[in-house]
């Protein structure tokens, strides 16, 4: 069966490559847009507890909505294709990034912040020199969670005509062709694992030396 999948891949290299590129483009841009929006928003929210309560609760509710439902909601609003898929994936990626950016800044030792202010740092300097570097590992952990979710979630783009590796899975199911299904499923699983590992390394690289566990 794996052999059959392999044979199919060899006979249709362009088809596979296009699906892979679409999948990665969808996930990559969805994640990037979400990070660009949610990281600053999370940091901003950490400065205003009242607004944060509202936004974080909304994000948490957003988190519980299944990925497929998000895609389904997009269908009547934006129709089918690449753009609605991208919007849906961005929405999927925002909650974990937003929550971690907020929590990351909030969990910075308030005594460190007080001494920074007390020594004459401006609000912006406290953010740039103390709060952001200390919060960076937590923020990047949020991006890692979102990345894995988006890579896996992009599979569902096939349902609304967004393309990607999910196309093989939907076709495989429709045609009752297991090899075709595997051609989508196996690479997606590998991508998800690879993403997790890659972002884990990134997270460690972004953790300041004085705060790394297991090194001294």
């Amino acid at each position: 069966m794996i052999q059959a999948a392999w044979a199919y891949l060899l006979s249709h290299p362009k088809l596979f490559r296009d699906a892979l590129v679409t999948h990665l483009t969808l996930s990559g841009s969805g994640l990037a847009i979400a990070a660009i929006l949610a990281v600053p928003l999370g940091i901003l929210l950490s400065q205003s507890p009242r607004a944060a309560l509202l936004a974080i609760n909304a994000a948490n509710i957003g988190r519980t909505v299944p990925s497929l439902a998000v895609l389904a909601i997009m269908l009547p609003v934006l129709g089918t294709g690449f753009l609605p898929s991208l919007v849906a994936l961005t929405l999927l990626a925002i909650p974990p990034i937003l929550i971690n950016a907020y929590v990351g800044i909030r969990q910075v030792d308030p005594d460190a912040v007080e001494s920074a202010v007390g020594m004459g740092m401006t609000r912006l300097q406290v953010m740039a020199k103390i709060e952001l570097p200390v919060a960076l590992p937590v923020i990047s952990a949020g991006v890692r969670t979102a990345a894995v979710q988006v890579v896996a979630g992009a599979t569902l783009a096939a349902f609304i005509g967004g393309g990607g590796l999910g196309d093989f899975i939907t076709s495989g199911i429709a045609l009752m062709q297991l090899p075709l299904l595997l051609l989508g499923a196996v690479p997606i699983a590998l991508l998800a694992i690879g993403t997790e590992l890659l972002f884990h390394r990134l997270e460690r690289a972004l953790t300041p030396r004085g705060m790394r566990s297991g090194s001294s």
């Binding site: 007080e114 920074a116 020594m119």
Partner: protein
């Protein structure tokens, strides 16, 4: 010199002021300890001096300059600030932590590096070993030393310290207190020091301000406060053992007799010259003896202190102020 004029703080939504018309003058180069029970306004007063808390009313004058309306960021860079939980920056090395204010005010790199080493040495830490370490690799006592070094690095004329030794075990605390007193002898700073520990206030303060409900109850030297508490509250606050506490203000060197070399009254044990008379009394009582030999750092005999002498000292000082 720091002068507080009718300093008042009313927190929003509170009926009674946290600090109420507080007026106080700390002469240049002296240490003023603010002390009182929880909620007396001592920390609020301290934080108004560097404007972490914005005063509701009153003036603050530092070194002759009214700083009440000054830009707080510029003001804070001229004041060292040490808090109980230290608040070292976990992602920065010890050197980077200490360099905070010099960097903020833009010293050249070479001067900063030299200053970092100077500060580490000042607080008794080897720069070669500790410069590149991170805060979590240090003990509590070392962290507090770095906190003091960091506050001193910009060479501010004023130091504000909020229970700086409060979270440290008693033995290390005593050592840090002594080290800080030694540092203050070497570099003159005007210090405002908050504590709730009477013994620490007596030890560290040139002057003690006792606060209650945001008001100044008594302001004077430790000896004045112990000898003549202004009212029953102060009397109770400083404790019933004020006679003993006053003995802690005098070192044996100041009271020892040096004319007994010829016939020492059976010296049983020795005590270092910089020990307090209170410690000497305690040692004499513990040994069930009559006297102690006072020795210098090398162990050379300097004189003697006797139980009789201590009794005379207490009797003679019972009402020392005319």
């Amino acid at each position: 010199m720091i002068r507080l004029k009718s300093l008042t703080k009313i927190f929003p939504g509170q009926a009674t002021p946290a600090v109420d018309q507080l007026s106080l003058e700390v002469p240049a180069g002296q240490t003023c300890v603010l002390i009182g029970p929880s909620g007396c306004g001592k920390t609020t007063t301290l934080k108004m001096i560097n404007r972490l808390v914005e005063p509701t009313g009153g003036r603050i004058v530092v070194g002759g300059e009214d700083v009440t309306g000054m830009d707080p960021v510029a003001l804070r860079r001229r004041m060292g600030y040490v808090i109980q939980q230290i608040g070292l920056f976990p992602h920065m090395t010890i050197a980077e932590n200490i360099a905070t204010v010099p960097r903020l005010v833009g010293w050249p790199a070479a001067r900063i590096a030299a200053r970092v080493d100077e500060m580490l040495t000042l607080v008794g830490m080897d720069p070669a070993i500790h410069r590149t370490r991170y805060p979590r690799e240090l003990s509590g006592g070392q962290r507090q030393r770095v906190g003091v070094a960091r506050a001193l690095a910009g060479d501010p004329p004023v130091m504000l310290m909020d229970e700086p030794f409060g979270a440290i075990d008693p033995i290390t605390r005593g050592r840090l207190q002594n080290e800080f007193l030694k540092i203050l002898k070497a570099i003159r700073k005007t210090v405002v020091f908050v504590t709730h520990d009477v013994d620490e206030a007596i030890k560290m303060g040139d002057r003690i301000a006792i606060l209650r409900d945001g008001r100044l109850v008594q302001y004077g030297t430790p000896d004045e406060i112990l000898a003549r508490p202004a009212n029953a509250f102060v009397e109770e606050f400083v404790g019933t053992d004020r006679a003993l506490k006053r003995l802690a203000l005098v070192t044996v060197r100041e009271v020892m007799r040096t004319d007994t070399h010829a016939s020492p009254p059976r010296p049983c044990a020795s005590i270092p010259e910089d020990a307090t008379v209170k410690e000497a009394l305690s040692a004499i009582l513990a040994l069930n003896g009559e006297s102690l030999a006072v020795v210098d750092q090398e162990g050379r005999l300097l004189g003697h202190v006797t139980l009789r002498q201590i009794q005379e000292l207490v009797a003679g000082r019972s009402d020392p102020i005319p």
